[in-house]
Structure formats: C-alpha cells, structure tokens
Amino acid sequence: MSETDDVARGEGGSEPSAPDLKDAVGEAPLPEASSPEVLLAEVPSLEPGGSPTPTVVKKKRSQRLRDTLIWIRDHYCVMEPRTAGIYRWVVGFLCVADMLRHWGEARWFYSNDGVLTNHYHLWRPSSGYNFSVFHAFSSLTEVHIIFAIFVLCHFFFMIGWRTKLFSILSFVAVTSLDNRLVMVENGGYVVVNLVVAYAMFLPTGKRFSVDAWLRSWRERKESTVAELNERYRPDWAYKPYTSLAVLLVVLNLAVVYFFNVVNKSGHLWRTGQTVHYVLHLNRMVTGLAVWFRELFPYWTTRPVTWAVLCTEAVLVGWILSPYAKRITRTLAMIGILLLHTSFGVMMRLGPFAWFMIGWSMCLIAPEQWTIAEGWYRRKAAPRVVVYDRSSPLAFAACRVLGRLDNLQLLRFEESPEIAIENAAPELLLARDEASGQVFTGIDAFRQIVQALPGGRFGYWVVRIGTLGLLGPILSFASRRRAALTRYFGLAIPPRGREQTPSPWSPLRRRLWNGGMYLRETLLVWVAICSVLQAIAENKAVPAWARPKMPGVMSATLVYPRMFQGWGMFAPNPITDDGSVSIDAITLDGRHVDPFTGEVPDLDISDSRGLGLGQIRQDYFNRIRLDRNKVFRQPLQDYLRNWHKETGRPQDELVAFDVYWVRAMCPPPGQKHAYNNEKIALLTYRKSGYRPAPGLPPLPPEPKVESADTVDPKAATATPAPLDGVPMLFEKLVHLFKK
C-alpha cells in the first residue's frame, strides 16, 4: 500500500469525509463535526401544505452555511504533514540563504559603522509600529553575533529541531531584519514575513524533521527483523492537519497573483513593452538579462510580457481550484517555478522570486505526492538489505534505513548463520530480488541509498560530503564493527523502554482544544486584518472603497510587516534607470566613490548592468526620495568617517557630493539609454579645509534638488493607440478584471 493511500485525498478519489477529519486538527479531535446527512436528519419536516415554517427556513439556511463551511474545510483547510515538512525545508533553506546574504552587508546597513545607525533609526523610525531585535545591536561585532544567532535559528528551523520554537524565532528574525532597514524593503521582504508567519501555524515539524526522527526513535525500538520490516506509522506523523492556516497560506498566495494582475493596468503592460523596459533597468538586472536584451530583438519581449501577465492570471485559478487538484496544483507549481525562476535569474529583486517558489510548496496536495511517488517508484528499484545478524551496528543502520524508506522499497533480512569461527558476514549487503544479483561494499551502499526517496541525489551528496572517502569509511566500519558497537553503546534490542505516548487525559485534551481555538481565533483576526489591508493597499481598489485601518489592526500587520499590497511594476514599470554615485574628494586630492572605491561614474547611459545587489540598489533608489531625506544625515556621517573604515588617514573625505544619476531607458526597439543627468542629493565641504600645496581648491557645492521629480516627458507622454494583439489583450484584461 502506498503511503498516501490512507491519508486525505483531493477531488476525484477519497477525500476525507467530515467525520474522518474530526481528529485532524493537530493531534487532537475537532469538536464533533456533523456530516451533512446527520444535519439533514435534524431538519424538521415541512408544514402540511408544503410551505416551510420560519424555523425550518432558518435551519435550512444554517445547514447550508454549515455545509459550505464543511466544504471549505475539506477542500482548503487540510494539509498533509509531508507538505508542511517540505515547506519547512524549502523556506528554512531560503531563510538561511537570505540571512547570509544580509550578513554580507552587516557593516554597511546593520551596524553603527554604516549608513543607518541604530540610534538614528530609533530616533527617526521608518514607520510606526517598528520593532527590530537588530536595534539592540550596535557595533559590528554585536551585529555579527545576532546574525550568527539568527542564521542558527533558521538552520534549526530548516532541519526541524525544536521546530515550533525555532519557527517562532525565525519569524522574529525575518521581521527584525526587515524592520531594521525598512528602506530596502520590497514585496519580497513582505513575502518572507508572510511565508515564515504561516509556517508557525503549520505542522512543519511532523515530518522530515529531527523532532520527528527523535520521536520515532523514542517510541519505536525495533528488536527483530520482523519489526524492522513493519514500518512505524504513528498518527502524529500521518494524520492530515486541519486549520484555517492552511486556507490562509493558499488563499494569500492566490491573492498575490490576483492583485499583481489587476494592478498592472498600465499601457506598457497592455502594449507588451514592460519586459523591454525592465530589462533595461541597469540597477536591477543581472548579467543574464543584459545578454538576453542584447541578443533578442524587441518584438520577442512583447509576447514574454503578455505571457507573464497571463501566467499570473491563470495561476489564481489553478491555485484556488477545488477540483482536479492533480492537474491544477501541478500546473500552478510548475508555473510559479518557471515564472519566478526567470525573475530570479534576470533581476536582483532580493528574496521575492525564491520565496514565492518556496511558498508554492504549500500547494502540494496528496495528488502531487502520489505523482511524485509513482515517478520515483518507477525510477527506483526495490532491494533486500541483508545485515549481519550478530552486529548491533548493522541492526542500528537498518533502523535508520527503515525510517528513511518511506516508499518501502527496502526489505530487511538477517544474514545466515556462519559456522566458521572468525568469519564475519558483510555488515550490510544489498540484493536485487528480481535478478538475485548481490551488491557489497560501496555498491551495496549505493543500491540501498538509491532506493530511498531522494536517494539518487542524496547518494552524490554523501559521496561529495565524505570527500570521496565513502569506500574506506564503509570498509572501516565493517572491519571495526565490534569496536564501534561498544563505542556507541549499541545493543540488540536497543536499550531503554519504548516511550509510547500515553492517551491524553480529558483535562489535557480540553486545554489542547482551548489552545487550538485560540490559535484559530488569532488566525481569524489576522485574516480579517489582511483582507482589510489588501483592500486598503492595492491600487486597483477605488479610493472610496479603501477602509481606514484601526490602530490595533495596523499594529497587527505593521509590526510584522505583513502587508498585502501586490503590484510589482504596476500599473506600469518605471522607464528611467538610476543609481547613486558619489563624487568624493579625499585629503590627498583623489576623486573617489566610497561605495565602489573607484573613480565616480556619473554617466549610466552606457551601463550594461550596475552589478549592485538588491540591498544596495534598493537603498540607493530609496535614499533619493524626499521622504527619506531624513536618512541622509547618517549617510553623511558614514561618509565623513569612511577613512576609519579603510584605515587610511589619507582617505578622509574633505568634500563629497552624493548624486542620483538618472537616465531614461531606451525606447522600444532601441538599445541605448539617453538623457543622462545627475541630481545632487547631499553635499559636504569640510569646514576650515585648506587644500595642500599643489591641490586644486574644492569645487563649489551643487544645488541639492529633489530626485522625486517625475520626468515631464514621461508624464505627458500619450499612450500609443492600441491595435492588433495589444487591443485583444486589453480586452482580455478587461474581462478578467470584470
């Protein structure tokens, strides 16, 4: 029997009925959920004459409502622990990677040696309801420590050790990271916050985790070959999980795409010019995007633009479809993977693309597990593992393999009795049951591992991880099996009692249910806040319909920065490119840009990608804005102390001008940016400075201007008339919006 046979299934098969699900919330039963049949039986009969009484009508209505809720619960609120486990691995890995990425910028952006000191940000917080643990860490050393702690938190969350605790700490970590430097926040950061927030409410530690692993070792201590061949399938690891969190995590994903479509109402999207413009944003693009824009003609980018919009539109349906999940969810995951991989490799958008892929892991339904299982089963071959019957080490290895063998492709056998003294059988050998072929040593290891889920890839991970010494290691273990057994204190049967979970007392069950209701109530609250936030924040919603969020609702979402405004490059992509360049003069008269360490580049029209990371490019893009003028003071302080960072006194800056260097992206069909200009954001001249003999006097200070100003040409540009395919596309968008 396959692993998914006795778990909840989607449409078209054995979707669990309501009574089946009553035990599905976490580990404890739900309050008795009435099935539709039971409810129908409770409805009183009609009055003579056929007209229902008001009571009957009311009951019918309430029954319909209950049926609807049950339908929603069965179709959207159930998640397999396996799905949650995969979700945790992917999100945890991305969190570790993202935290490491930010750690690389610790000095510049997160320490008091950088461009925004903690005391300045606390004095002038970027927003209300701003809380970040990073604010408590000032010096670079302290910041390194907190980054190390948070990386560890993410790592432990990823591997599922004390999962609940570390999922909460991971949430604190990501929201703190965002709140410490709100200036570089983009939709990606919000996605990270949401994805990790939902993880706190999902059963992420039930499968594929250290917690689950340790628990299974405590609860099940196999002592015979028969017990090895009988897989341990505890309820806590296999029962589907029911919670509003499952609905929210899926629904929110659909909402992201929905608003991304409806907000993209600009003519550049409709006329298919978006990809062209986006590919010419040198501050954002990667080298691959530069290659793409230079190689492919303009007309090829138009279908790509529409394809992006269409994909996002159909994703909403695929994600939310309650039926045919086998197809729709698979298509949704593939669509998200392709869409965001292309975003991720072309643009420097930070965590957005990768975390959206991570988010899509929540879409894995039992049907997808069945598909994956079938696919892997076709690739993998069953093997018989014959272990040394006298070696506790071999037996312990079999216990490990039994826990990894989710597809049950392994069968265990004891080695035959050997009468010859001092002769020992192979520690482990593998046998192909069909052909009878026997594998020993490293070949046996390979055969066994490849029969495990993911073992085809895992085998090579192990080979590389052991630096090619796998063969000698296995050989050593086989030779020294007795010594290793003693060293690790192994025995057959394993030591200690099986700690089978005792049945819960009614009191504990009630307390657990109380906690569950609290959790669901919290989720309802978050859902209400999020819905209002989505209405208030998205451009597609008319102004009159946007509610004013009460303070407590704002606090609920703004502290963790779980916003709901979705509209990347909406309604139109920006058509001007820009970045910050600093023309600084050192004590010894050199012109240098402290951000690059090189001669300042004040012309970006010839750029083939600026090579800036997301954090820097977003910081540059935001520091130019008038609303962030207040944050230029710490930037100035940083530049004045730049020589302390380099450690060279002659690097002291006696003057600097911080420019926003801007150029218009090339119009469709052209390749070169134009209209390069520089706008001074900040200037500084050291008071009392006298140039050394032979050095020119300091240049006059440029006038500081607003870099917010909309390009008048762009503002007055008339959209091109639509015809042909664009017109057809616009009609489709119109229909979709309707």
């Binding site: 809380f131 604010h135 204190g489 192994l490 009692r497 007392s505 009630r510």
Partner: protein
Amino acid sequence: MGLVLIYDLLRRFRYIKEFYSNDGVLPNHNHLFNLHGAQVWSLLHAFSTEGESTFAFALILVAYTLFAVGYQTRFFHVVSVVALVSLTGRNVLLENAGNYAAIALLAFTAFLPCGSRFSIDSMRAALDARDEKTARALNDRPTRTDEELDAQRLPGWAPTSIAAFAVLAQIAIIYLATALQQKGAWRDGTALYYGLNVERWVSRGGASVRNLSPALLALWTHALYVAEWGIPALVLVPVGFRYTRTGAAVLSAFYALTLGLLFSFGLYAWTLLAASLLLLPKELWTGIENVPRASRLRTIIYDADCGVCLWLSRVTKHADLRHHLTFQGNDDVAELLITGKNGVVERVPAPKGLTPEVVLGTVVVADRHGNTFTKSRAVSEVIGALPLGWTVAWIFRIPGLSSLFDLGYDAIATRRQGISVLMGKEACGIAEHHAAAEEPAEPPGPGTDEEVAPAVRNARTGIGFLRELGVGVVFAAMLAQTTAQNQLPYKLAQPKWLAAVATWPRMMAKWDVLTPEPPKDDEIFVIDGQTKAGRAIDTLTGHDPILDPGAMRGSGLGQLWGDYLTRMHEKEWLDFQRAFRDYLAKGGPGWDEKTGDDQIIGLDAYWLKQPIPAPGSPRAPDSVTREKLFTHSRGGKTAITPEKMMPLIRPDLNLKR
C-alpha cells in the same frame, strides 16, 4: 534568587515609562547615542514605547517565574541572565553594585545544577522515575548514593565544577573588597549613623532606626564590619564546613538583612541574602534532610480509590524533605501506619477519630498524640509538615477563613472522582494493586556509569570541559575586573578581551557600597517647578519642593531614582541631562498634568547639600546649600521667592558618595 529577581522586576515595573520607554528620562536612541560605542548591550534597547517595554517586562516576568519554580531550569536560568543584563544595560544610570553582584552570581550559578532539587523539573523527574500506586510504595523512600546520583546526571549537570568554587569566591570577594576599601567611619563606628542620614539611600525602616543611641549604632556598625571580614575568612577555611560555612551564611544573612531593611540599595542586599543560601554546607542539608522532627510527624489517610488523591500524595511525598509524612489508604484503617525512629513503617492502634465513615468523606491527618484532623485543617497539617510549610499553614487555621476553606475542600472532595477522570487518573481502580506496579521503574537517564557508552562519555567530557573553560574565563575576567575597579592593594593584568568578558554583561565588579565611608553630607535632588497657576511643585514627588533634606524622613524616591539623580548631577553624565530636561518639561513621575493651570511652565533643578551633624547633634536647617543644575523655560517658583532663596554654590561636580 528567582524570588529576588521577581522582586526586582516588580520594583521596576512601576517605572517602565520613566526609565525604560521613550516617554521617559532616557529614550533608547538617546541612550545608544550617548554611549558612544561603550560596551553596553541590552535587548530592551529594541523596545521603544511604554507598551512595548511592558510587553518585554511581562516576558521577563514569565522567564523569572519559570526559573524560580524550576521549570526547564537551565534554559530559563540563561534567559534570566540575559534579561537581567538587559534590564541593567538599558539604563546604565540606574545600575549599582547590586546589579553587578546579581549578574555575576546568576551567571556563575548558570553552570550549576540549580534545577536538580526543589524544582518542577526535579519533581517531574521524581514522579516519572517511580509510579507509586499504593501506600506501601508511597512509604518506601530509598536513598540513593552520591555515585548513583552522579551517574544519572546529564552532561553539564555535575555539581563538582569550577563554577561552585567561583560562586564561593565571588561571594567572598564582594565582602572582602568592600571591607578592604572601608575606613574612617567604619573604624570609629559611625558609618551606620551617617549612612542612615543620607536621604537618597535610607529606607523608611532605616529612617526609623537612625535615631537609636549612637552606642547601639556603633555596635551595629562594628558587627557589620566584622561580618565583612569574617565571611570571606570563614568561606575560605577548608575544614569544618558545618561550622565555618554555616557561620558565613549566618553572617551574610545578617549583613544582607541589615542593608536590605535599612537602605534602598536595590538588588544588592537581597542578592547577598540569596547568596547566603549558597554558603550552606552539605553537612547542614544532611542534618535536615531525612531527619524528621517528632512534633511534625503526621500520617495522611487518603482516598485509595481516588486517582487525584494518590497523585497529590505522590507530590507531597516528594516535597516532604524531612520525611515527616506517612501515607495510608482509606481502605485499611483498622490500624494506623506511622514511621518509626529508623524509618520503618509500623502499625499502631488507630486513634478514636479514625473510622471508616470519616475517611470516606475527607482526608484525615493523624499526629502521634492520637489527634485527627480533617478537611482544611488536615491540609494545614500536611503543609505545615513540609519544609517552610509553616509560613503558609497558619492561614488555613484562621477562624472564619478555615470555614471557607472547609467549604472549598468539600466542593473539591465531592467532585474528586470527576476531577480524577478529568486528569486522566484512575477513579475507582486503585484497589487493583499489582505487585509489579510497586516496583520502582527504571530510572531515567543513562543508568549507571558502566552502562554509559564511550561515545556518550566522551561527549560529556567534551561538554564538561567547555563548561569549565567558560566558567574559568568568566571567573578570571571577574577577578581582573575586581582589581581594576576597586581600590585594592593588588592589580591583575586585564587584557581588552578579558575586560570585555566582564563589561558586556555588566559584571562591573565595583564593590563600593558604603565605601570608603558614608558621606558626611546629605545631598538630594530637588525640582523647583512652577505651574501655570503659579504653584510651586517638585515634579519628582508631586508635592511642594522640600528644601530641607533632614525633613524628608526616608521618603526618598527609591534606589532607581536615587542612583539616576545622583548621576544626573555628576559631570561625566552631563550628556544624558538633555533627555532628562526634555522629560521634565513634560512633567515628571509625580506630576503628569499637561493642560490647564496645572501644566508646568518652568523649573529649576537643584542639588541640595546639608552637612550631617555628628552623632547626637541636631541638624542645622540653615546649613543647606544648593547647586543649580539647570533651568527650563521660566524657572522655578521658589527661586524667585526671596525669603526662600539659599546661597548658590558651584562645588566640584565629581562628588563621590
């Protein structure tokens, strides 16, 4: 120590707005800015508003409480260290030797097995280790040898550690360093008198005893001085622990209680009082544990068919340190079970009041004189037999209240079967006693030392080595810091990294309480503010400005405000004054009126000084001098009243206590 931490936190709770939020005297950004990169760290810097800080305090309270009751003790011990460091580091103007002592002792004891006894952890472990089902099992109390206990301890839980030495040494060092720096008034016996006349320090209790005869205060001073020298000497004596360590603990408790009751030194005295318990020798514990007092011996007759009653009996058994209690089921009351002199349970004739009818309706407790107690009185007797139970037991005997407790008892007793079912306990199945259940279960942990695998042993050794290394480094840092911060005859080399180990967690080791001697001047901080209606007001107290320190009679603002205001007038803390002025402009702890005639329209800040007369002499009211620290807006009301004007001086700002 957990209780001391909770007391300290609750004390700070009422000052969250003033000292820990951005609406107070030192916003987090201002503090961080003024620290100029000093090695000060606090997680509370991340909390800005009063609400956020209150939330953080609530979390700290939870951590302290769980540490105090010993739930996940090691974890919450470390969290408590972090919390205390954060509380200290958030506003360094409030810290004093009490913070340094508390952090140091808390940090060192984090390496010791504080959860092994008198904790929820140990209670749970004891309940898990043996599932008693019968009265016989309840009365069976095998004692384990030290070797067996050691073998069961998890890595990092052995009490034999450098940390144990470090704790003792730290306590000794605190007293020794203090004594070494004291002179003058400590030698002539006037120190306590002068100390009690410093309004910023004295508590209400201290104010009430400062007029005792000078001879008595001199005697008390000498006793304190002797205690300071005696404690380190007794601690360091390597023999006769039963007497030396006990003597040190008693002296330490005397010293701590004196300072705690007479002065407002914050954590200092109460930390030392808690530390006194660390000095109690093993011999003393052995003399208490398993040694019952005849007058407290009791027999509990519990409902043998009630699961929750059995569970309560098991909990009581493990809390019964001195083995005062003997357990007996109500299914066999023909005779009474008592524990004999050698710990053997014996049967004696049942007292008159012990009838089958009585034991069906209530728990019965019998003493050795044939007296029986029921209901809440029985509960009182049981609690009274437990360690320190007498502090609570008397409440159940108060006339009137005892009737209420009886009602409560009845309400629970009649529902005990239901409660048993609710808690998953057996309700009526206890009678099915089976011998196997009475056998002690396999103890948790790896078992005896022979059963520990070499891999586990190596891991333990590695962890133990790291632990000892950690303690060693922290201890070395504390030693070096102590010699650097105090006027001691010896100075140890203190490399930067070692100084950082002590400085980051605010283990500043400045043992300067009442050193070198209490000041001969009484100094106070007074705000002379005026309201829109023209009323003179001290916004710190909410009353008229008191310009005579001698008239305050111990009605100071407490340690936090005392230390803060003292520093406010010192030159090295001038950078922090601006935030204080901004705060005062909006009101103060005693004045929060921001509108109408009561709003503050100007104020002056003064540092008043009055010489403390020699013992037995009265204060001279006209000897008060004032130092004007700053003026806000229109200034104060009193300052413009000629008859109340005092001579203005500008003495050295670097005044020492």
